[in-house]
């Protein structure tokens, strides 16, 4: 049992069987996380570096917990506190860390493709924790895992991804992952936030959020990423909330039980109202919980087959 890849760069490169293996392993870890002692010594000989060139609380904490619960040693490294601010290149930074005998690198970077670049130049296994607007594979995996946990096999199910598709690596990883698992994907949001020609990925575009929700079984509501919008793409947050926000009244009027996900952090009252985010249909906190199990599975599966030095 192992993955077909040495790194987890994007879901695009994974086989469906890899996703199944990760889910199956995550089931085991989820069970371990319910025990009084939530830790196994599987990776006690492994050191992992979490290198974050972009801010993150949830993902970094989740990775760190996952690594620690597998018994690995962990070093954390954030760009603001590092020599990157003194002008060091990415390869130099990472090679310096690897020289301290690190076996695996978890990296987040604002440049799309940065993990691929790194994978060509260093030996260690790399896990992409989000690269620019490209992919955020562990988020895609944990979203699909959480959907499947609540609604069973995703084959034939329809999932709407609502909001800022343009700037969202979560959307990309979700699309790849859900399609590989046999689900139909609808993307919805203001035309300015949906990339042109996204239909070429095999998704359906529905600019009207209400109509998108009417057709789906599950909705993943994405955050409006104001920090990535260099020029305004909609007139105001109020207008966005009015036309594209998901609120209780709208959900109730659909007359169906749609499962609601949000990768966080939530802009309450913008893309999602509090009474939806905290309501019974929402599995936002289950996603966070499953995130640790999914990341444990990925780190575990990528660290097998590594020969100890003589």
């Amino acid at each position: 049992m192992s993955l077909s890849v040495k790194h987890l760069l994007g879901i695009k490169e994974l086989q469906t069987s890899d996703i199944e293996t990760i889910f199956k392993t995550a089931d085991n870890f989820k069970q371990i996380l319910q025990r009084p002692i939530k830790k196994v010594p599987a990776l006690r000989d492994t050191t992992v570096a979490n290198i974050f060139f972009e801010n993150s609380t949830r993902t970094r904490t989740s990775f760190e917990l996952a690594e620690k619960r597998l018994g690995a040693d962990v070093v954390n490294f954030s760009a603001s506190a590092s020599s990157v601010s003194k002008g060091e290149t990415l390869i130099d930074t990472v090679n310096n860390i690897l020289a301290m005998k690190v076996d695996m690198v978890v990296m987040r970077h604002s440049a799309s493709g940065a993990p691929w670049f790194l994978a060509r130049h260093i030996d260690a296994s790399i896990i992409n924790a989000g690269d620019g607007v490209n992919e955020h594979p562990t988020q895609g995996l944990l979203d699909a895992f959480s959907m499947r946990e609540k609604r069973g096999d995703l084959k034939g199910k329809t999932v709407a991804i609502v909001g800022d598709i343009m700037h969202s690596r979560v959307a990309m990883s979700n699309i790849y992952c859900l399609q590989k698992l046999g689900a139909e994907v609808i993307v919805s949001g203001p035309p300015t936030l949906i990339p042109k020609h996204i239909e070429a990925m095999g998704v359906k575009v529905e600019y009207n959020v209400r109509k998108a929700l009417q057709q789906c079984d599950i909705a993943n509501i994405l955050r409006i990423q104001l920090e990535r919008q260099h020029k305004p793409l909609f007139s105001s947050l109020r207008e966005y909330a009015l036309y594209y926000g998901v609120n209780r009244q709208m959900l109730d009027s659909l007359g169906k039980d749609i499962l609601i996900l949000h990768p966080g952090p939530i802009n309450r009252g913008v893309e999602i109202d509090s009474d939806v985010a905290d309501g019974a249909q929402s599995i936002i906190l289950d996603q966070v919980e499953n995130g640790v199990a999914i990341r444990m599975a990925v780190v575990y599966l990528l660290s097998g087959g590594r020969e100890l030095p003589e």
Binding site: S2, N28, P36, A42, L70, L301, G305, E307
Partner: protein, 175 residues
């Protein structure tokens, strides 16, 4: 391929092992039986079924343990094995634990199992029951307390235990 135990012999051995447990644990009030995944649980299922007929206690604490994440050879090529379910719904503090596996060979699985058990509490004692003891092949100082059948084997040989519920017939063979 050589048959070590056929169905009738296996039946007798299972009865003997169950009675030996009763002898030492009487009503099993403070005992927990733990079968090792994946193959040991077929053995422990049988032992539990027998214990429920020969002891006064019909609600013996029974769990299943998977040791995949406690192995000591993870770094090796192809060492990643598909994990099975661990199902222990009770604490092990001060319990008398009987660990059950089908074949005892190098002892490394049992080392990992003891490590894993300690994550569920501090047992009063851990005893080991094995259906087949491959003598003189231990790599760690681990010995069984209850043995179904002892056999001397070469390292390259394999002992296989078949169960009616899983494989269609009851048999222990040396390959």
């Amino acid at each position: 391929m050589k048959t070590l135990l056929d169905q009738a012999q296996l039946q007798i051995t299972l009865h003997r092992l169950a009675h030996q447990l009763v002898e030492n644990h009487l009503d099993f009030s403070n005992t927990a039986i733990i079968g090792l995944q994946p193959r040991g649980v077929w053995f422990s299922d049988r032992i539990i079924k027998l214990l429920e007929t020969v002891s006064s206690n019909t609600r013996i604490l029974y769990g299943k343990l998977d040791i995949t994440f406690y192995r000591d050879d993870l770094y090796k090529e192809d060492a990643l094995q598909e994990p099975a379910q661990t199902d222990i719904s009770f604490g092990l503090d001060n319990k008398r634990v009987v660990l059950i596996d089908d074949v005892l060979h190098t002892g490394r699985t049992i080392r990992a199992a003891m490590d894993a058990l300690l994550d569920f509490g501090r047992p009063k004692e851990i005893a080991l029951m094995t259906l087949v003891d491959r003598r003189f092949s231990r790599e760690l100082p681990i010995q069984p307390d209850y043995v179904g059948f002892s056999v001397d084997t070469l390292f390259e040989q394999k002992v296989k235990v078949f169960w009616k519920e899983k494989d269609g017939n009851d048999e222990v063979v040396l390959v």
